[in-house]
């Protein structure tokens, strides 16, 4: 470690060896299993969708920095991460303009006008997904069943979007087995299908200390508790956590540094709130999935949580009883 440099950076000081680039690289590595699972279950078209989304995000950021005559920020990889997460949030059957519009929206509306990385008010991928849901609801709502791997050329299934077997997601049918949900052998968005792959990625991030366990675990826990409460059925909780984008959102989107609270109690409230709203939307609205709306709302209350909840400074005593005693 002789070449270790003294790093000067503004708070929050995560660790000295982390840089934005290394964190983003870790996130990309952690997303790889989910992407691989998506390609395995839905064919190569999913890869094309994700790549288009990445390209759109990166080009949009490049365009913005070039127009504003700012230094190019592509090398911190944050645009690529947003692109991958956004791509994983789309159905493998979406028309190709959907990831392109999504990337443009994420970068040119949500992220860059507010000052770029670290200053965005909401997670760009979550906001872009909500935008796409509201804009292209039909295209966003078409899902396919996992590819049948017995035939030759199965890997190209869905390339045209016509030959794939479209089907309802387990969120709609509600009858998938836990094993299939866990492995990912169900219909859904590219990245949300396999809970196993997402957990692997999340574990990697935890070990690399890129994310803290508090937010993802509490989002999942609160989702489980509230869904059991709403349905008055304990088995509903596991189904909620394993199905849809719950795990993808909890591990990769709710943990965004810029849009989640800085304090312990702030992030507890934030995480429980996200789980609660997501289950609320799933249970009582006509939308099958609510996690992206929940994360967006959580992002929006984050400034409030940061403003009203702050840690007690070291050595600080509350005025009142203790102060009176000392006096």
């Amino acid at each position: 470690m002789s070449d270790k440099k003294l790093m000067m950076s503004s708070s929050p000081h995560i660790t000295a060896t982390h840089s934005t680039r290394s964190i983003m690289r870790d996130v990309l590595i952690a997303l790889a299993p989910a992407l691989a699972a998506g390609i395995y279950f839905f064919g190569l078209r999913s890869l094309v969708v994700v790549l288009l989304s990445v390209a759109s995000c990166m080009l949009s950021e490049l365009l913005f920095t070039a127009l504003r005559k700012k230094p190019c920020t592509l090398s911190d990889l944050s645009a690529a991460v947003t692109g991958v997460i956004l791509g994983l949030n789309l159905s493998p059957l979406v028309p190709f303009y959907v990831p392109v519009f999504g990337g443009v929206f994420a970068m040119l509306i949500v992220k860059m006008p507010f000052g770029g990385l670290g200053k965005n008010f909401a997670n760009p991928a979550a906001a872009a997904r909500v935008f796409l849901l509201l804009s292209f609801s039909t295209a966003m709502g078409r899902f396919m069943n996992p590819v049948d791997w017995t035939g030759a050329g199965a890997i190209f299934t869905g390339m045209g979007g016509a030959d794939a077997v479209t089907g309802a997601t387990p969120l709609v049918t509600g009858d998938a087995s836990y094993l299939n949900l866990f492995l990912g052998n169900v219909g859904g968005c590219i990245g949300e299908t396999s809970a196993l792959a997402l957990l692997l990625g999340g574990l990697y991030l935890l070990i690399r200390r890129v994310i803290h366990w508090r937010v993802p675990v509490l989002v999942l826990l609160s989702g489980a508790v509230f869904s059991a409460l709403f349905a008055w059925d304990l088995s509903a909780s596991l189904y909620t956590v394993l199905s849809g984008g719950f795990m993808l959102g909890a591990i990769f989107m709710a943990t965004d540094y810029a849009t989640s609270p800085n304090t312990v109690w702030g992030s507890v409230i934030y995480a429980v709130f996200i789980g609660f709203v997501a289950v609320l939307l799933r249970s009582f609205t006509n939308m099958p999935e609510g996690i992206s709306f929940a994360i967006l709302l959580g992002n929006l209350i984050t400034p409030l949580l940061d403003k009203y909840i702050y840690p007690r400074p070291f050595g600080y005593q509350k005025k009142g009883k203790e102060g009176a005693k000392n006096a």
Partner: protein, 216 residues
């Protein structure tokens, strides 16, 4: 001197104090009816008519209206003209009347009209008040037309009801809804103020340079 002032007032409503982009007044109709170019222009012109007439009448009556009851008096004047607009539209422009719906009677509580009555027409002579009403109204109309055309084009691929972008264009449905209205408004406002700031800055520089030259 009088002439120059009138032209200043005219420019004021369109640019310096554009009700939508600079004063941020009348947001309710701005967000609600700009789903298409025709709706935007229709709402803008209806408001312009009311604004012009109410400014004229309030300016004429400003010495008669007691200070304490001026707000109810303004509302009465404004509501009269709004009723006229509503009836005329109902008779001659049925389609637009249906499209704008509730937002026509709501012109009564449009803050642009109120603001101009309170801050301009009630303290200025008749002619400047008329010019002010007209230019504020046209500034509002122009803003609504811009917002309406952007939203109509991107959400439905049409402009003024004519299909411009063909079948291949998917249509960004969100821009037709209220959140899309907020987005478009914010972006247009940012662009307007960016350009406006650059222009006024350049003008100030020129003036300074000229003054320096004259001093030398």
């Amino acid at each position: 001197m009088q002439h120059k002032k009138l032209s200043q007032i005219a420019v004021n409503g369109l640019l310096n104090e554009n009700p939508t982009f600079r004063l941020v007044l009348g947001m309710c109709p701005t967000l609600a009816v700009t789903t298409s170019l025709i709706n935007g222009v229709g709402m803008g012109l209806a408001t312009t008519f009311v604004l012009f007439c109410s400014n004229l009448l309030i300016s004429l009556l400003k010495n008669i209206i007691p200070d304490k009851v001026r707000i109810p008096a303004f509302i009465l004047v404004i509501a009269t003209f709004v009723t006229i607009v509503e009836m005329v539209m109902n008779k001659y422009m049925e389609g637009l009347y249906q499209a704008l719906g509730l937002y026509i009677p709501l012109i009564v509580v449009n803050c642009i009209i109120f603001a101009r009555a309170e801050s301009f027409a009630s303290v200025n002579p008749v002619l400047p008040s008329m010019v002010d009403g007209l230019s504020m109204g046209l500034g509002f109309t122009a803003a609504l037309a811009v917002l309406g055309s952007i939203r109509e084009l991107l959400a439905y691929g049409k402009l003024g009801g004519i299909v411009l972008l063909g079948e291949w264009f998917p249509g960004i449905a969100m821009l037709g809804t209220a959140p899309g209205g907020f987005l478009t408004l914010g972006l247009c406002m940012a662009l307007f103020n960016y350009v406006y700031g650059r222009v006024t800055e350049a003008r100030a520089h020129k003036k300074q340079a000229k003054a320096k030259e004259e001093n030398v």
